[in-house]
């Protein structure tokens, strides 16, 4: 029922591939209200993650998340690098050294990720950032806490997608889009979108 090291590796790999495939969409979203590099940044970072995962030799799910975190931190740059890096690092810490991850632990990992992102970036819900995808994702995950990993992640992904979509009318208050003031309204936040893409890929990978 739970996810082994292999399952987690496969899921992170699937998430990496999905984000890489969404490069152009994320570039375009960021071009409009930011500086156009979000898709390129994540493309660079998750390409490096895939190479690291190829190396193998991970003895726990946490080890997989940790190498993902450090690789993102050392290759992504920009705002997203430290934020996603922190998210994965905190998730790894939340898992401890369990060898199988269950739904409850996924919820704990997502909670830790959100806390980490907020601690670093100081964004509140409604600021038009990835926090607007992650916050409803955590809430939805919590409400399915007794379900399996895939169900938890599926609920999180659904909520993240809705949360991302809900950033469209918002006026940005954090990150580069905030410089646009009112003109940032009417556009999807790239980081919220990439969070939704990541969660959807994790959910689909663990369902199989």
């Amino acid at each position: 029922m739970g996810c082994s090291v292999e399952d987690v590796t496969a899921a992170v790999r699937a998430a990496a591939e999905k984000v890489i495939a969404h490069r152009d969409e994320l570039v375009e979203l960021d071009r409009v209200i930011g500086d156009g590099d979000h898709g390129e940044n994540l493309h660079r970072g998750f390409t490096a993650v895939l190479a690291k995962l190829d190396g193998g030799g991970f003895d726990s799910p946490a080890a997989v998340l940790k190498v993902t975190a450090t690789t993102l931190i050392s290759t992504v740059g920009g705002a997203a690098g430290p934020l996603y890096g922190t998210a994965f690092l905190r998730s790894a810490t939340a898992l401890g050294n369990v060898s199988e991850v269950d739904g409850r632990q996924v919820v704990a990992a997502l909670e830790a990720a959100l806390e980490g992102v907020v601690a670093r970036g100081k964004a509140a819900p409604g600021d038009k950032t990835m926090v607007d995808a992650l916050t409803p994702a955590v809430a939805a995950a919590r409400s399915t806490v007794d379900a399996g990993v895939a169900e938890v992640l599926m609920a999180a992904a659904d909520a993240a997608e809705q949360g991302a979509a809900a950033t469209v009318p918002l006026v940005a208050r954090k990150g580069r889009a905030s410089y646009l003031g009112e003109r940032s309204a009417g556009h999807l936040d790239p980081g919220a979108r990439s969070t939704a893409v990541l969660l959807r890929a994790l959910a689909e990978a663990t369902r199989q």
Partner: protein, 330 residues
């Protein structure tokens, strides 16, 4: 998109190769992670001044590495801040035993990545301080934004603090000096055209033939206000007004900066107008810098920076500097 490049993903690496070839006596350029270092680094017993940020703003920051200014610059990908590992490697390469001052433009990405690097370096026992440059008056309300951005004023902070470090000022002194310069510096920029990031392939925004953008950032971010184009007199007046309304100045350094694609003829023309407007306001221009120093790729446009001066700052500004982009006194 038309650019003199090969693979868009390799632009920065290839440009660094060319920069290394162009300045063999002045710079050591490392790749993986990328760093532009003073040839004679580390300078023992001196505070090391380190900066960096996304590429595409050249000569900022690499063009300001050398005696009397920066000890190292960390170039990220185009418009993307460098990573913590990269900054940490640069810190370790130039640390001369007297601590390291990081001069960071205030953008979320830069702040987070340099902050992380500073933590790493501190863990290695290096005394690292970080000063944020946030001189852009285009960003009005810092409560509802990521705060003022760091733009043109950065080069002035780097020059002045670099001179102090070169003379042997300690880390506390350098840090306070940097904060003082930041506190007394304000900038505002405008664009006639947008720029195109190589990996994006299309302009970061579009302006009609009769439009200009006031308050643009240096990352191709559109500004806060789109207006019909005006004669130079009107454009420069807007910039001077906004800056002098934000902070009162008496003696200043006036920095007239090209965003990259503006001809020098237009830049001097604008500079002359700014001098006249400042004179009308009773502000004394004691030093000037005119040129493309903090750019946004090929963007046409300009920014003005005013930096309040006193005798100490003038003396540090005048001190010898030897870098690829700024050189005098040696």
């Amino acid at each position: 998109m038309k650019k003199i490049i090969n693979d868009p993903a390799a632009v920065v690496a290839e440009a660094l190769r060319g920069m290394a070839a162009a300045h063999p006596d002045l710079l050591t350029i490392r790749t993986d992670p990328a760093a532009i270092l003073r040839k004679d680094a580390p300078v023992t017993g001196r505070v090391a001044v380190v900066s960096g940020g996304g590429s595409g703003h050249e000569p900022l920051h690499g063009g300001f590495v050398g005696p009397g200014m920066l000890h190292a610059a960390c170039p990220g990908p185009v418009f993307t801040s460098p990573t913590p590992d990269q900054v940490q490697a640069a810190i370790e390469a130039v640390h001369g035993g007297a601590g390291v001052l990081l001069i960071v433009k205030n953008y979320t990405g830069d702040v987070l990545n340099f902050e992380t690097a500073a933590e790493f370096a501190a863990a290695e026992g290096i005394d690292v301080r970080m000063v944020l440059v946030d001189d852009d008056v285009a960003v009005k309300d810092s409560l509802y934004t990521a705060g003022r951005r760091g733009v043109g004023g950065t080069v002035l902070v780097e020059k002045i603090v670099g001179a102090a470090a070169e003379r042997g000022a300690d880390l506390d002194t350098c840090e306070r000096l940097a904060q003082r310069v930041v506190a007394g510096t304000r900038s505002l920029g405008m664009a006639l055209t947008a720029c195109t990031v190589p990996h994006v392939g299309e302009p970061s925004f579009t302006l009609a033939d009769d439009e200009m953008e006031i308050g643009i950032g240096i990352h191709g971010e559109p500004g806060r206000e789109r207006l019909p184009v005006e004669p130079a007199d009107g454009i420069v007046r807007r910039l001077v007004d906004a800056i002098t309304e934000d902070l009162a100045f008496k003696r200043v350094l006036l920095f007239t900066n090209s965003m990259g694609g503006t001809p020098q003829l237009e830049l001097y023309l604008a500079h002359g107008i700014a001098e006249r407007l400042l004179a009308e306001r009773g502000i004394t221009v004691e030093r000037r810098l005119v040129g493309p120093y903090v750019t946004s790729l090929e963007m046409q446009g300009m920014s003005l920076t005013l930096c309040g001066l006193d005798d100490e700052l003038i003396d540090l500004w005048d001190a010898p500097v030897h870098t690829a982009a700024l050189r005098w006194g040696c």
